[in-house]
Structures are given as structure tokens and as C-alpha cells.
């Protein structure tokens, strides 16, 4: 049976939920869980003041029930177990996560998987800006793990990404894969112009039919590499909402960003670039 936390508070002020992790509450009695302190604005308050708590965590699953866009930092630093969030939730979900699984049945705010190094996050709705991005002051975004988002994402998704996999089922905003260092990023829908600016290495697969790349990406040809077939298989096993049939056809490969190292790869559907001559 999972441990369920139902959001009962009327407060809109930021509620910091870091520290409410399956591995932490596992060892605690219901009374002790109720007394766990969370930050509400500038005060520390017991969890029970904002949540009705029921069930137990025998199966390692923690459920946040009901929408709470003001609840931030869910699953911060998580290493094991499962967190399910039913409804929209706030920022920094899965920040610095190292293991375990977070399932968001709804949309997530900004900074999803910020500084994440392992584990798995799945979102059925949209996510805000800076998915898989770096912690403030750091250049490195996500360094491991998997994020799948069925909906759209805001700006700077996978910026500074170092390793891992991010799959986006719909559209992506500006700054996609900006300064990407390595890792794999797949976007099913439209993406704002100039993805992958200053990327060093890594692979970005863009499946929309109209893509605009900066002049510092150069076409290498059309290919059907083994790695894309393996990626398709992985995406299928993750239930990512990506049309993997596209991976069966040759995709155009562009190398860039030549201003940085130029070892990055952007894969697009054949002819998705307005100018086939980009060289």
C-alpha cells in the first residue's frame, strides 16, 4: 500500500517539499511523518498542516494527491522508491535526483530534473522551462537518468545536458539543447528556431517536418545508424510518446555547433530543413 499525501492547504505561497522522500519516510511512524518540517514561505511547519496523510509506504511508493502548483522540490535528491504526483505540481521536481522513479500525472513546473544524475521521471502533461538544466551557478545540466514528457516543454530544455536521455512528445521552446555537452534528446513536435546552439557533443533528434538550424550546423548526409534503432527500441520500452517509425527511414545528419567543438549531431527527417544546401 502506498503512502498518500493529500494537499489540503489553501495557501498559494511556496511550499518546499524537498526531504519528503520514500527512503526517508520508510523508517518513520505516521506520527513522525506528520511532524516532518517543510518550509512554507519563510517558516518551517509540520507536514500535517498542509497534507492529509494516509496509508503506509510498504511498497516504497509515495503519492502526492491533488494539484499543487505551489509545491516545489518534490523528489529532490531522491535515490530510491517511487513518487507519484497526481495533478499539476510546481518547480524543481526531481532536482538532483540520483535514483528511483517519479511519475507526474499532470504538468510539471520549471526546472524539472534540474541537476539530475540518475533515475527516471515521466510526465503525462507539459513541463516548464529548463527541463534537465543545471543548478544555478553550474554549467552542467542533467548528468544521467531518463526524462520523458508526453506534452510540450518551455525554454532551455536540456541546456547544458551532460548525459542521459530526454524525450519530449510535443513541442519545445527556445534554447533547446543550448550548450549541450553530451547525452540524447528527442523532440517529436515543432521546436523553436536554432536548437543546439553551442552544443559540443550529444545527439538531438528532431522529428518535426520544419526545422531551422543556425548557419554553424553542416549537413553530413542521410543515414540509418544502428544507434538510432537502439534508441527507438529504448523509447518504445519507456512508453515515450515518440513516433519511432521515423527511425526506420534514413534521417539527415547535421554536425555542429561548429563554433564550439562541432562534435554534436542533430538528426532531422529528410528534407526538414528549408535549405537542403546547408553546408
Amino acid at each position: 500500500m502506498p503512502l498518500a499525501l493529500r494537499f489540503t492547504s489553501a495557501s498559494q505561497l511556496p511550499l518546499e517539499l524537498d526531504g519528503i522522500l520514500p527512503e526517508r519516510v520508510q523508517a518513520l511512524s505516521q506520527g513522525a511523518i506528520e511532524k516532518l518540517l517543510i518550509r512554507h514561505g519563510n517558516r518551517l511547519e509540520p507536514l500535517a498542516e498542509h497534507f492529509a496523510i494516509s496509508g503506509s509506504i510498504d511498497d516504497g511508493t509515495l503519492i502526492f494527491e491533488s494539484a499543487m502548483p505551489s509545491g516545489h522540490g518534490i523528489g529532490t535528491g531522491m535515490t530510491a522508491g517511487v513518487i507519484r504526483v497526481v495533478g499539476h505540481a510546481g518547480r524543481r521536481i526531481g532536482a538532483q535526483m540520483r535514483g528511483g522513479r517519479i511519475e507526474v500525472e499532470g504538468s510539471a513546473g520549471d526546472l524539472l530534473g534540474q541537476g539530475m544524475s540518475g533515475g527516471r521521471i515521466a510526465v503525462t502533461g507539459d513541463a516548464g522551462d529548463h527541463v534537465a538544466g543545471p543548478l544555478p551557478g553550474s554549467r552542467r545540466g542533467m548528468t544521467g537518468g531518463v526524462i520523458t514528457i508526453a506534452g510540450s516543454v518551455g525554454a532551455f530544455a536540456a541546456a547544458g545536458m551532460r548525459r542521459g536521455l530526454v524525450a519530449i512528445g510535443q513541442s519545445a521552446g527556445a534554447g533547446l539543447g543550448y550548450r549541450m555537452i553530451a547525452g540524447t534528446l528527442v523532440v517529436q513536435g515543432p521546436c523553436a528556431p536554432n536548437p543546439g546552439l553551442e552544443m559540443k557533443r550529444g545527439s538531438i533528434v528532431l522529428l518535426d517536418r520544419a526545422i531551422e538550424l543556425a548557419p554553424t550546423f553542416r549537413k553530413a548526409g542521410a543515414f540509418r545508424p544502428v544507434f538510432l534503432r537502439l534508441l527507438a527500441r529504448e523509447l518504445a520500452s519507456l512508453n515515450a510518446t515518440i513516433d519511432i517509425r521515423a527511425f526506420g527511414m534514413p534521417l539527415d545528419l547535421f554536425h555542429g555547433d561548429l563554433l564550439t567543438l562541432g562534435k554534436g549531431e542533430i538528426w532531422t527527417r529528410a528534407g526538414a530543413l528549408a535549405s537542403e544546401t546547408q553546408a
Binding site: L111, T216, S275
Partner: protein, 436 residues
């Protein structure tokens, strides 16, 4: 031209104009009948700025829209801020450094967020400098050395009327003895602006093509070969024209890219970083710097004060045990838009006015400089003396040079720094101040 003034007029040499980011400090303000009647050396915009000095007659405090005594206002404001769970201190860019440091102390005391201002105008350039590092200079260095000025989507002739005369293109400098004749002015903008009319080299570029253009120039300077069709399609300007521009940049002895502080959106922050990168590659071949024009406010001062007092330049969260930098979360516009604060101390009245829509359920304490109508959505409003005419204080120019602004007129209202010092005192010593 020397102007004739009344005999009883009082002259204030070395007054500072806060009409735009030039912060001209060579103005002689002429005062008669309790107002500034002339501002010698100032441009038309500066004269208007001095002439707008208020009557200094309206009440100094309002509580819930009714005139009140300052003491009562302070008590009321202190109670609001002390009881707040998620307070924000903002609008720092509207006041002098002396007031900014007290504002940070208040934010620390009430354990809230503190941020420079509402418009986020400075945000992207701060980010860019943190990420890329920046090669900057004082405006005096531009005056004395720059032989090439590239105005990137800025129109200083219109917005900073004396910039070219004092710091840039038209000025006679030590290493540019012939002034304008020794310098080249390149302009890249969407329209034929007033600055473009004076340029030696103009490129018209659509705003949404800025990133493609910056990448093109960076690539040329870095020696990469580009496809002419791709460049023309992506930028709307031919590769040949970009090559010519790059040549001009590389041939400069000392070049400067003038830009503005940038908006807060994703493209603007990539753009700001790209400008700094371009300056960096150019600096490998010649001397190049980037300079943000700035506005007449004290955004740069806010950045400096926040840096030395909290360790971070903007969007600082002082709710926890140590200051936290939350550039993607704790900026004024984001906090207000998302309704994440329950009390705001705004040192800028305009900001409080603008946040009417988003301030439901949020108590506002505002400082205003003008005879504005009492800010309708604020619980407590204090009128403070206008910086630069009725009150003195230090303001940082966009290049980080501190400029002491002086009072030239008497004021009934206290200076911002005096008023918020009283507020901090109330917060520290009033009942309940011990329990944080």
C-alpha cells in the same frame, strides 16, 4: 550657450542628470522660486527631467489611500512586513546605493526575497556575464580609445542624447584626436534609426534574425566557411555584407559593441551571451569590449549592492539560513505573476502600480518619488524626496562607475535612505521583533 538667469537664481554646478543612462555629471542646475529653471549642458531630455521636479507639496504618507502621519505609516508597514510569510523587497533600481543596502538588510530581517526591479531588463546581461565572463571597460575608455563603435539594436542618439558627445563617436579622445573623423560607426538595427542616420555602415536586420546574425559574425571571425545561401536565408542579409562587417570589426584598433541590457526572455539571454562571446573572439585578434547602455535608474548599483551583501547579483532568496540565488524563480516578475508573495516592499511606486493585476491577496508598501496619486493597490505609501533634485545619493553608471547625485532643492519628504532606515529600525525594535 550661456543663458541669462535671474539675479536671485542659485547655481549648482556638477549636478547629475538621471534622465538616461549617460548620468551626465557636468550639469549646472539653476534654481529659482523653489524649482529648477534651467539645466546648463543638459540635452532637451535632461532639461525635461530637471523641469519635472515636483512641487514637493503632497502628503508624505498614505495608509489605505488616506493621508496619514509618517510614524503611523511606519508602524503599519512594519506590521505588514513582519507578519509576511513570503515577502519580497524590490524596486531597488529606483533608489541610491545608500538606500539599497538598507533594503537588503530589511529583506534579511523579514526573511524574504530581494530583487533589483520589476522589468527584468537587466536579467539577461547579468546571466550572460556570469556564464561567459565579460570584457568591459569604463565609458571614459571608449571616449579615449574606441575607433569603432557597433550599435547593436540600440539607438543612443535618441535614447542617450549626449552619449556620442561625452563618451563615444563624436568626442575627442586621447587616442582618437580627430573625434568623429577618427572613428567608424556601424549600426545593426531593424529600422533606420536616428543613430543609423549618422552611421558609416548600416545593416538592416529583422529582430527575429538576431541569433542567426550573431552566429554568422562569430563564425566568420572564427574563420569558418559558411554557405552563402544559408546565411542569406537565415539572416536576410548576404554573406558578403557580413564579411564586410567582420572585416571592419577585425580592422578596428579598439572596438566596442553597444547593446542594451536585454529583456528577460530566452532569446535575449542567448543573445547577450553571444555578444560577449563575439567580443571574446574579437579580442583574440584586436582589442574589443561590450558596453550596455543602461538607463537612468540604478540597476547597476542594485547589482553591486546585492553582490557584496549577499554574494549574488539579483533574485536572492533570504528565507533560509543562507542566501540562495534563484535566477529562474525569484525574479520580481516571476514572483508577482505567480502570486508567490504575500507582501511587497517596493522602492519604486511605478512597479507597485503595475502589479495591480497580480497583487490580489498581497499587501504592498511602496515608496513614490513624484506626486503620484496614492498608489491605489498599496496599503502604505511613502513619498520620498526625488533622487537627483531633492535628495542626494550614489548611483552606479552602467559601466560600474559610482556617481554621487546631489540635492539641489529642499524637500519636506525624507530621502529614500532616511525613510527605509526608519523602517528597518521599526522592524528591529518594535514589539515581536525578537521572534523571527
Amino acid at each position: 550657450m550661456p543663458q541669462a538667469h535671474r539675479l536671485d537664481a542659485e547655481q549648482h554646478p556638477d549636478s547629475v542628470c538621471l534622465g538616461c543612462g549617460c548620468l551626465c555629471d557636468d550639469i549646472t542646475a539653476v534654481v529659482a522660486d523653489g524649482r529648477v529653471v534651467a539645466a546648463e549642458h543638459a540635452c532637451a531630455r535632461g532639461e525635461a527631467w530637471f523641469a519635472a521636479s515636483s512641487e514637493d507639496a503632497s502628503p508624505e504618507c498614505w495608509i489605505d489611500g488616506q493621508p496619514a502621519a509618517i510614524d503611523d505609516g511606519l508602524d503599519h508597514a512594519a506590521a505588514i512586513l513582519r507578519n509576511a510569510r513570503s515577502p519580497l523587497v524590490t524596486g531597488l533600481d529606483a533608489v541610491c546605493v545608500e538606500a539599497q543596502r538598507i533594503a537588503v538588510a530589511i529583506a534579511d530581517r523579514i526573511r524574504g526575497f530581494v530583487d533589483a526591479g520589476g522589468l527584468g531588463a537587466h536579467e539577461s546581461s547579468i546571466h550572460a556575464a556570469l556564464e561567459v565572463g565579460s570584457v568591459g571597460c569604463t565609458l571614459g575608455e571608449i571616449r579615449h580609445r574606441a575607433d569603432l563603435v557597433l550599435a547593436w539594436f540600440v539607438d543612443p542618439v535618441a535614447t542617450h542624447p549626449r552619449f556620442f558627445e561625452r563618451y563615444g563617436v563624436d568626442a575627442i579622445g586621447e587616442f582618437v584626436p580627430r573625434g568623429r573623423a577618427d572613428r567608424r560607426l556601424c549600426v545593426i538595427d531593424e529600422h533606420e534609426t536616428a543613430t543609423a542616420a549618422q552611421s558609416d555602415h548600416l545593416l538592416l536586420l529583422k529582430r527575429d534574425r538576431r541569433l542567426a546574425a550573431l552566429w554568422t559574425v562569430r563564425a566568420i571571425v572564427a574563420g569558418l566557411s559558411l554557405d552563402p545561401h544559408t546565411v542569406a536565408r537565415l539572416t536576410g542579409v548576404s554573406l558578403e555584407q557580413w564579411n564586410t562587417l567582420a572585416r571592419l570589426l577585425l580592422d578596428a584598433r579598439y572596438g566596442v559593441i553597444l547593446h542594451d541590457a536585454g529583456a528577460a526572455d530566452a532569446e535575449a539571454s542567448i543573445e547577450s551571451a553571444a555578444i560577449l562571446h563575439l567580443v571574446r573572439v574579437l579580442s583574440e585578434r584586436t582589442r574589443f569590449v561590450a558596453a550596455a547602455l543602461g538607463s537612468g535608474n540604478n540597476a547597476k548599483g542594485a547589482e553591486q549592492v546585492l553582490l557584496w551583501s549577499t554574494g549574488y547579483p539579483a533574485a536572492v532568496d533570504l528565507r533560509g539560513a543562507v542566501p540562495a540565488y534563484q535566477p529562474q524563480e525569484a525574479t520580481t516578475s516571476r514572483l508577482l505573476d505567480r502570486g508567490e508573495v504575500d507582501a511587497v516592499l517596493s522602492l519604486e511606486g511605478r512597479l507597485a502600480l503595475d502589479s495591480i493585476e497580480t497583487s490580489a491577496g498581497c499587501s504592498i508598501v511602496a515608496l513614490v518619488e513624484d506626486d503620484l496619486d496614492p498608489v491605489p493597490n498599496a496599503q502604505v505609501v511613502f513619498r520620498v524626496a526625488r533622487l537627483g533634485t531633492h535628495a542626494g545619493g550614489t548611483v552606479f553608471r552602467s559601466d560600474g562607475v559610482p556617481i554621487p547625485a546631489r540635492a539641489v532643492l529642499p524637500s519636506h519628504a525624507p530621502a529614500a535612505q532616511e525613510l527605509i532606515a526608519l523602517l528597518l529600525d521599526r522592524l528591529e525594535h518594535a514589539p515581536g521583533a525578537g521572534d523571527a
